[in-house]
């Protein structure tokens, strides 16, 4: 008769059993490590993701070490005004006599912070709503998804401007605008994934042994839908940075006394006939940053084999 009790020792020797268990446990580790290294291999094989990742890490470094890297302080106005790019000022100077190179370096921090915090907030709100809607279905799903549809109906920048018109300009409100405008994409993606997984064996098994709903959502469903969330998160940071620079350009974003790319571009309009560098360099900084994030997001999408994340 076949052995019905899986807990029964396989061999008569308890030491051998222990060794077997250890071996089995280490096999699990090896498998996890193999999966981990496969992930790294895939990222490395996916040149876009790898290149994007290197750029993003570089930009993160610049945003943290900005004050050390910048040759001059943000408020140093002891230079000729509107001086063309030279060895001393690789990106020229602005109408106040600031070194533009230093201001572009220092601007990285604002855009990066606002983009990342906004995208994180969008992710937390959106994923929570999507997972709850997809898991419970019924009226909860209906209510959440109708609200999501309503927010979806507003173009992102118009929604952001509406919010700024209510609460005023400033970093916090720009973050709020990015969060609200982008959370809907997360909700839709996550809900779709949860619908696919809510009848999966592991979910049903967890339910049948009485695991609480929030635990199923957090410990069982969430890790299985992490890939599309990561991809969307990467792309959302890019959208967030574009929203921030757009609003700041209009004068509706971050405090104009802080050096930002959007503010530099806004100023460039007044000197477009005299100083091309004011328009060109901050724009390249924005483009390079968003391009890096898009490359990383797109590459991750291929590497992680995610198909349902919206395109830019």
């Amino acid at each position: 008769m076949a052995d019905q009790n899986p807990a029964k020792p396989v061999t008569a020797d308890p030491l051998a059993d222990q060794r077997l268990n250890e071996r089995l446990a280490s096999l699990g580790d090896e498998q996890r490590m193999a999966q981990g290294s496969r992930f790294v291999r895939r990222i490395r094989a996916e040149k876009k993701a790898f290149l994007g990742l290197i750029f993003v890490v570089f930009l993160a470094f610049v945003s943290i070490a900005g004050p050390i890297l910048a040759p001059y302080g943000a408020d140093n106005v002891n230079f000729d005004q509107l001086a063309a790019p030279s060895l001393h000022h690789p990106m020229g100077t602005d109408s106040f006599g600031h070194d533009l190179f230093s201001r572009v370096i220092l601007g990285t921090r604002v855009s990066f912070t606002v983009g990342i915090v906004g995208a994180l907030a969008a992710m937390i709100i959106g994923v929570t709503l999507g997972i709850v809607a997809g898991y419970y279905l019924g009226w909860i799903d209906n209510l959440i998804m109708r609200i999501v549809d309503l927010i979806w109906a507003f173009p992102a920048i118009v929604l952001a401007m509406g919010l700024v018109s209510i609460y005023g300009a400033g970093e916090k409100n720009v973050i709020l605008a990015i969060a609200l405008g982008n959370m809907v994409a997360f909700s839709r993606i996550v809900r779709g994934e949860v619908l696919r997984l809510r009848e999966a064996d592991f979910t049903l098994a967890a339910k049948s042994i009485g695991v609480r709903d929030w635990r199923i959502m957090l410990r069982h469903l969430l890790p299985n839908i992490a890939a599309p969330i990561i991809v969307q998160m990467t792309l959302t940071v890019g959208f967030g940075i574009l929203t921030e620079t757009g609003l700041t350009f209009l004068g509706l974003g971050v405090d104009p006394t802080i050096p930002t790319w959007g503010q530099a571009l806004n100023e460039s309009r007044n000197f477009i006939h005299q100083a091309w560098w004011l328009a060109v360099f901050p724009g390249i900084a924005i483009g390079f940053t968003v391009l890096s994030l898009n490359l990383m997001g797109d590459g991750l999408r291929d590497a992680l084999d995610v198909h349902n994340v919206s395109d830019a």
Binding site: L150, V158, V164, L250, G283, I286
Partner: protein
């Protein structure tokens, strides 16, 4: 299909009603006293009472809501606090400018994106495909308003081919009108072209790998015919959807670009109103843009059912 279209229409009415409700509450969400915020330095208790009365804010909220909705349905979006002119009148003046740039940008984007996307798909893996792919990445990563500034720098300041800012009415001559629209439309069209091109390439590649294309080739059809009559027709269906949606997206993007070109379209109307705390205008413009967005979505969905008879909606 008729049932689907009817359901979709009813749903759009719900969305429009929901958006209008959100826009109605926009003014009421302003922290503190919106009237004090609008009046700023000119605040006196009498002026505040008068403005409150003019905006109907002294009535119970449900009366305000019903009155506002009723008026909005009749196209009456209230009066500007600054100029005392009707909001719908101001939108009527501004909207055609924005719409003409949007349409021109859409044409530019499509003219560039479709042939380049097709070529990139047909020469997959070639240098051309690589350059096209890099260009689309750059196109979606840079803000539209930056393209605007750079195009002014190149085509208006350096080459002097086009005027850098402003707008003239088509009644003052079609050529001057087009000349003023050219740069803003080109700037807005770059992002549109980049997105569309990716879809054209991806769509065509997917179709080219399918069985019926292999059959068409196997029976000896010339490659030109395989691509043009067999592959393109099917691959263009999702492209039409993306193109339709990007028409609405372009309108949203122009909100900022108009400021670069000093064109008094709805984007500048909105920006100016936000600075002036002229809430009736903010409400009106947001409502009109959103209405356009929802209707464009609806039109695309309905068009889709006609374009692709294989699709059946349950």
């Amino acid at each position: 299909m008729t049932q689907y279209i009817i359901r979709r229409l009813i749903y759009s009415v719900f969305i429009i009603w929901g958006c209008a409700t959100i826009v109605f509450f926009l003014l009421r969400l302003v922290p503190g006293d919106p009237v004090a915020s609008m009046l700023g330095h000119e605040y006196t208790p009498e002026a505040a009472a008068q403005l409150r009365h003019n905006l109907g804010l002294d009535k119970p909220i449900y009366v305000q809501y019903v009155t506002w909705m009723g008026n909005a349905l009749h196209g009456n979006l209230g009066k500007s606090i600054d100029t005392q002119e009707s909001v719908s009148g101001q939108i009527k003046i501004a909207f055609p400018k924005t719409l003409s740039i949007t349409i021109l940008a859409f044409i530019f984007g499509t003219i560039v994106a479709v042939p380049l996307g097709v070529l990139a798909a047909l020469r997959r893996g070639s240098v051309f495909d690589f350059v096209a792919s890099v260009s689309t990445f750059v196109g979606i990563s840079l803000p539209t308003f930056w393209f605007g500034i750079v195009f002014i720098l190149i085509f208006a300041v350096q080459l002097r081919w086009f005027p850098s800012v402003g707008y003239v009415q088509p009644s003052d001559g079609v050529m001057p009108w087009l000349k003023h629209l050219f740069l803003p439309a080109l700037a807005a069209g770059v992002g549109e072209a980049a997105i569309l091109m990716r879809f054209v390439r991806a769509g065509l590649l997917e179709v080219l790998g399918s069985d019926y294309i292999r059959t068409a080739r196997a029976k000896g059809l010339p490659e030109r015919k395989v691509i043009l009559t067999h592959a393109m027709r099917n691959s263009m269906i999702p492209v039409v959807t993306v193109a339709g949606l990007s028409l609405a997206g372009l309108l949203g993007g122009l909100v900022i670009t108009e400021t670069v070109f000093a064109i008094a379209g709805i984007g500048r109307l909105l920006t100016g109103a936000i600075f002036a705390k002229d809430y009736p205008i903010v409400q009106g413009v947001i409502l009109v843009i959103t209405l356009f967005f929802v209707l464009a979505n609806l039109a695309v969905d309905i068009l889709y059912t006609f374009l692709d008879p294989r699709i059946r909606y349950g």
